[in-house]
Amino acid sequence: MVNPFPFSAIVGQDDMRLAFMIAATDPSVGGVLAFGDRGTGKSTAVRALAALLPKIKVVSGCPYNCAPDKQAKLCGACNGSGKTKTEMRSAPVVDLPLGATEDRVVGALNLERALAAGEKHFEPGLLARANRGFLYIDEVNLLEDHLVDLLLDVAASGLNLVEREGLSLSHPARFVLIGSGNPEEGELRPQMLDRFGLALEVRTPQDIPTRMEVIRRRDAYDRDPEAFHKHWANAEKKLRTKIVHARERVTTVETGDAVLERAARLCVALGSDGLRGELTLIRAARAYAALEDVPKVGDAELKRVAPMVLSHRLRRNPLDDSGSATRVERAIQEVFAK
């Protein structure tokens, strides 16, 4: 789409917007899962995010978006060539559509060249395109099992190993996974759920003024996308600058021992397994602090991000009707009361 709905024009849905901003600030928080009601603009937000991301510097012509700096993991071609010519590219936000075949996801023989010239040449797939960017799967819970396995594998290693059809190579594939879906259509496999750093439940706004504003903006956009874009150009620019600044600041945001302890205690109180929750909690709080221009992570930052970091890591308790977000809320109150 030429003119996606602007991110800054999304009404309400503060959690969802914040989660995306955090992932854009620090990709190491590890992906966002937006699950919930239909018609709440989940897909809209992801597509809007693409327009917000600052451009990235890549080795010229590299199909894997290799970064020119020395420490970066490079693809075979960039590693050997010692090429230093670079170019600026839009950060990739790659759609993995349902119905994609495996060969397009991992890459396969280049059809054109094989057919016309009888040459064996690798055609990079979606994983290559998503390197250093975002990989978006709408209706992630409907993705076929063999593709899910493949994604889990690549997401864990950051490397795409291709061993098929007489082709043998590997290339870097580090991406932030973004998934959206509706739990009514099928549950997400636990292994996949665990891959997402942040998860949130998106609800339809209930109050009339918000609903009206949603309709007003959507209708204005549908009728004239270009004019709508122009109207929001300034807000978009501000938001982009905010992300750029947050990225610079995030490395210098302090996390004191007191905060680390609180984070640990929160995770223990909720019985979330493993260290991943704790690590993500700290990273997300740091990114949030950077976005808000706060030099040091405090309780406020921790509290704000805790629900989206922890709610999908709780042990199931079907009896507790209150929902996982409320349980996290309760645990926060207990831990921070001390």
Binding site: G99, A116, G118, V214, L319
Partner: protein, 590 residues
Amino acid sequence: MSVSDAVSTPWRRASLAAAVFAVDPLGSGLLVRAGAGPARDELMTRVAGALAPMRLSRAPADIADDRLIGGLDVAATLRAGKPIAETGVLAASHGGVLAIVMAERISAGVAARLSQALDMGEVALQRDGLSAILPAHVGIIALDEGQDDEATPAALAERLGFWIDLEHIGWRDIEPPALTPEDFEAARKLLPSVETDDQVIEILVATAAQFGVDSPRAVLFALRAARAFTALRGETKVERDDIELAATLVLGPRATRMPAPPEEQDSDEPPPPPPEETPPDEPPEQKGEDNTPRELEEQILEAVRAALPPGLLAALAAGAPRNRRSSAKDGKSGEEIYSLQRGRPLDARPGSLSKGRLALVATLRAAAPWRKLRLKPEEMDSRRVIVKPEDFRIRRHRQKKGATTIFVVDASGSLAMTRLAEVKGAIEMLLADCYARRDNIALVAFRGRAGEIVLPPTRSTARAKRALTGLPGGGGTPVAAGLDVAAAVADQARRKGQTPLIVLMTDGRANICRDGGSGRPRAMEDALDAAKRIAAAQFSVLAIDTTQGGGSGPDAPVRVLAGAMQGRYVKLPRADAAVINAVVRGALPQ
């Protein structure tokens, strides 16, 4: 014709909705609930006429990805010596309308693909080495012939502007068309210049809220419908009647509750706030005294209410949720497996021929790119395609998985002496059935202080028999522990895609708590808690009361447990193996 006349009969509502859809069909749709019959045929003929010159094409509900999205055209590719794409149905319907027959059979996956095309106006092709974004700005007509609880997937239905029901319309109800194809063409030309003001949005949002319609999409569809009506009238200013009709046709069928009667509204809901932004240059036109936004809203509510189908009204009054698509939890969707023989076709996957049937086209597709690489130089002119074993693709199908019946057997002292043998006999009889149906069976026993899995889900009758024979009896009755274990087994089965059924056989005299302590009241409390968890997880449950003699009234402990699990209760005067067998078989999901 006045507004109330225009929507006074089901046929009028349906044909009007179809007409409005035809004015502005792309990115929207029509959900037609009806069996094949004269009413549906007539409606579709009219829609086709009204849509012209836009095309109306058809596709089956179980359409596979290579037809829906497209892929490599093997024959053309080999002929041309370069990749030639085969256009999928979605891209081929660009700028037109696609009708899906037997829409109630659309899988969640196909629904998601259609939904994405409706949302984006394009289809992403990432298949067979081809990568492209193809325009697919389409409208979709879902022809839903579903009976009872079969229905078009909610994700798709939500994206179709108009829902119409032709179920009880006969030949005699059909009226001649009032509009000509020229009317539609004129309306489409006029549509871009139709203006709406903020008040229209306000009224539609408020009406939607009153009827419990949550999705913003519904309101957007109503807004589009109001504009289309206006254009169909040959006007460019949306009037009260247009809003009323739009609300009736778009929001009415989506209603999930009845609005509060007018006099109560003011007390429990704040009045809609004034528009935040200044309305257009001219002030809203005042047409007589009955036109303040608030009163206008009342009238429209009334109009929608008046046109609601009677059945719906009754259902809403009874507080019954409608159109609740069965969620993944009750085994209607999601609990599926891949099969090599039966079910809906899926993409072919690489595999050995010993494991399934060859998918010929897919295999050729896999071999095609290698043609030149594999031919010897002197054969270059030949038209041969060399197929190697790694090219083999086999067919896959998706089908529903079977059930897992989990027997939770009370092996405590209170039961063991008298009836355990009978229970064992009943389970053994069921095994033969389960084997025939490819169902799994699991056995959980509770006695002493704990519940244990005596037999994990299996289809092996031999193993099950052995486990049964060795089942000891005696000790306390830890009902809670038994139910907890059963819930865990059921949860696991569900994750594997099976539909679990828990069959509890006990006299319900719980006397051991979860923590192993004894004491009847606390043990029963724990048991109820465990039962509620099972209800919350929405497992199907059958509780068989094996108490000898005694009442089966509302206070019978097993009945209370069954109630807490929201399951069925059966009291067996004699735990006759054949009787138990019949009861369980009746409870199994079909």
